[in-house]
Symmetry: C2
Subunit: 465 residues, 2 copies
């Protein structure tokens, strides 16, 4: 039976119940603790028959004993007690439930049976359930989270992450701030007793804060339904997927559950291709592609330029672009004149443009952006750290703009051309360069990923025509 | 004519002349400044006809005016003056010269002509020249460097880096400390007017401090000579290469010089395969493979185990291993019993072994290492950062060992099996985990690189039989 769409109650609830709130340190403690400390104290009701007061808040023995309406219930009690709790939520008219508890179908048939029983009582109700065996949702735009991550370090943005695994989702959240990935929503769907990846796609396609959807999948629950929805969604918003279980042993490792689309990785390739979904093959590639879609326009032409201060890294970027079928056009006489004007004699003014240790990085970026034959740009600003630190006694932070020029401003003048970048250096160097380039010039993890991301932008442009 | 082997004078000179030492800030200043400040004050003589004193040291007008013997001359003067300086060095009997100046064959025919003239006067002398257009050498074991990098942050070790480009070499040195890559030598060979990659291989194969050789190449100068030497060297020490210019436009970007082996990337693949050289396809893969060869033994069998606390990352590692033809054997009943003993009910004890958020990571590593069917191990210790920070109020540094157990000690008991690892998290998390795992469990950049490195270790083992 067709279930109702999942609602905003999952991401912006007016009232919340935490079923299983406890004083004992651990995950269940952390979930309630996060909400109390992050602006949700007035909106949460705690439920636990063994407690009377936690964080100075009253604790109710049962969800039905909580006064008033509850939009979202978060369940963090042992698996065996979850069925009764869900029954209580349905009786209370709670429309959104997140079951974070583990110990269900991922551990065997007894757990699977409980999941089926719970799914059974949902029929005919408006209640939707995310989970079990997940960490629920995070919404960086309002600071709401049903897990224990420090959402304060995650920048609100327009990329939504959907992951099956809760552990993986949480670890990604520790990692994304260093990658300067700005998020709209994070949703871990766990064992998918009710809500699955298709429900989430249907929600995100209409979510105003989401422009790009990142999926980490271990298996699709219903292949036909997935293709039908994903095809529609991918026409509207780019969907980038990392699918593990590409080999038989990898599939065994993901312990795919009953109902998952089984079989060959080639089938998934066909499904993704048919749906217009972009497939990534590593975590870094997944997020580098997403970051570029989240910040860059679709280019008018696939020909591109590379501007670099290292000939070696420039050559790696060119290799990667050409391997993907992209072309680096010859610069026009005008562009060559524009660069040559102030260039030292040793500089070979061509595409790729290697400005070496000269102060011409900024002017070269400007000339390449203005070149009519060029649709997009890869920038590789690198220089030995000490060189930049030694400019008139500068710190790295001050030295970088002195060395490379005002790239953000130059870039802003030609917003219709995508610009991506790569660098190499110490973690401090990368962090300072990321701040210097700003959000409109994403810094990626390799020259290969820069090429792949631009390739995918171009493919999307072509599909649209 | 066969030239003499390059000597230790390049890496451990008793006396050094800096030709072109100057008071003006810039690269030439930096080179002398580094030596003066890093224990070489008593060993250097400065040469510049326009100066009389720099850093409180006398400055000689000409190399022939310097009293006593000079082992190594570093030339940092404009290209047009280099020929005379080299003539002076030869007259003085200097056996080792590094020309760091740019403006030679990389910028056109006039520069190429100067190179040829210099090469001409070397014939019949014992003098060897590295460069021009490079930053020379670094020796982390004695703190000697002919460039301006902060060698203090580079850990001395057993990996030698050979790169053509000076800029790239310097940038790599900024990057390697964060990767915990420990180096024996760094050699940038520039335009190779005399010393080329083959000379360097011949030196490094006998260098006691070097166990693994990393080559970044844009082209080989003499294909036949390269195959002959590289085949011999690769039998003794692993050689890992990253070759750019894989496409025609990439080759144009590297502006390969006269005499370089030209043509198709397929030829290079054949050359590398014939020589027993390992080819990497990205910077991170290059160094991840090198790091594993530098720290791990050749395994007795290619079957491996994966121990992880994230099922998702475990599945990615398994996929990558299986794609490369490696196998994850079923654990013996004994191993399963050893893990099951303390395992929570939800844990699925098999290979890959996902211990999830349990305290079983250490015991699982021990059981997998003791398993006779397993030749090597991939460890994926990950956990949401906050979980570790919250263990009894711990800091991340204290929490990590409490959570994962004494992995280094467990690993040390079975030194004959290679162990590699991968994690995901904030930069601080990665740094603390790197310290925790120690040098005998290298932390790599992706599950895919972990698989590739073990695959190459196994291939080397098979070639040896």
């Amino acid at each position: 039976m067709k279930r109702p769409m999942i609602s905003d109650a999952f991401f912006n609830p007016g009232t919340i119940a935490v079923i299983g709130a406890t004083k004992r340190h651990g995950f269940a403690y952390g979930v309630a603790h996060y909400l109390v400390n992050n602006g949700y104290r007035d909106k949460i009701s705690l439920v636990n028959p063994k407690e009377t007061e936690i964080f100075g808040l009253p604790v109710y023995p049962d969800i039905t004993a909580v006064p008033g309406k509850i939009d979202l219930a978060i369940i963090v009690i042992p698996a065996r007690a979850v069925f009764q709790a869900v029954k209580g939520c349905i009786a209370k008219g709670v429309g959104a439930i997140i079951i974070e508890s583990a110990g269900f179908s991922e551990i065997g048939s007894e757990g699977a049976r409980i999941e089926q029983e719970i799914a059974g009582i949902l029929d005919g109700t408006p209640t939707r359930i995310i989970g079990p065996n997940c960490v629920g949702v995070m919404n960086p735009h309002n600071g709401f989270a049903t897990t224990t991550n420090n959402l304060g370090v995650v920048r609100p943005g327009n990329i939504a992450i959907v992951a099956q695994s809760g552990v993986f989702g949480n670890i990604l959240l520790d990692w994304v701030p260093s990658q300067d990935i700005a998020l709209s929503k994070v949703i871990t769907i766990g064992n998918r007793l009710d809500v699955d990846e298709v429900d989430v796609l249907e929600y995100l396609v209409n979510d105003k804060e989401t422009d790009v959807i990142v999926l980490y999948l271990e298996g699709v629950k219903d292949g036909h339904r997935f293709i039908k929805t994903a095809s529609k969604v991918a026409r509207i918003k780019p969907v980038v997927v990392l699918k593990s279980g590409r080999t038989e042993q990898g599939r065994a490792a993901t312990a795919s559950h009953t109902g998952s689309m089984s079989g060959d990785d080639a089938i998934y390739n066909a499904v993704f291709a048919q749906s217009g979904i972009i497939r990534a093959y590593s975590i870094q590639e997944l997020f580098d592609i997403a970051k570029v879609f989240a910040t860059q326009p679709i280019p008018a032409k696939s020909d591109l330029a590379v501007v670099t201060s290292s000939g070696s890294l420039g050559a790696m970027a060119v290799d990667a672009c050409v391997k993907l079928g992209m072309n680096l056009p010859t610069f026009s006489a005008q562009t060559i004149r524009n660069v040559r004007e102030n260039a030292p004699g040793w500089m070979n003014v061509r595409n790729p443009l290697d400005v070496g240790p000269s102060p011409l990085f900024g002017p070269a970026v400007q000339a390449a952006l203005d070149e009519p034959a060029v649709g997009s740009l890869i920038l590789i600003p690198v220089v030995p750290q000490m060189v930049v630190e030694n400019i008139a006694g500068s710190t790295m932070e001050n030295g970088i703009p002195l060395w490379f020029g005002n790239i953000s401003e130059i870039r802003a003048r030609v917003p219709e051309k995508p610009v991506v970048s790569f660098t190499l250096g110490s973690p401090e160097w990368v962090r300072h360069l990321q701040n210097f380039l700003g959000v409109d010039i994403p810094l990626l993890n390799s020259p290969e990923n820069a090429a792949r991301a631009l390739y995918e932008l171009n493919r999307r442009g072509k599909r649209r025509h």
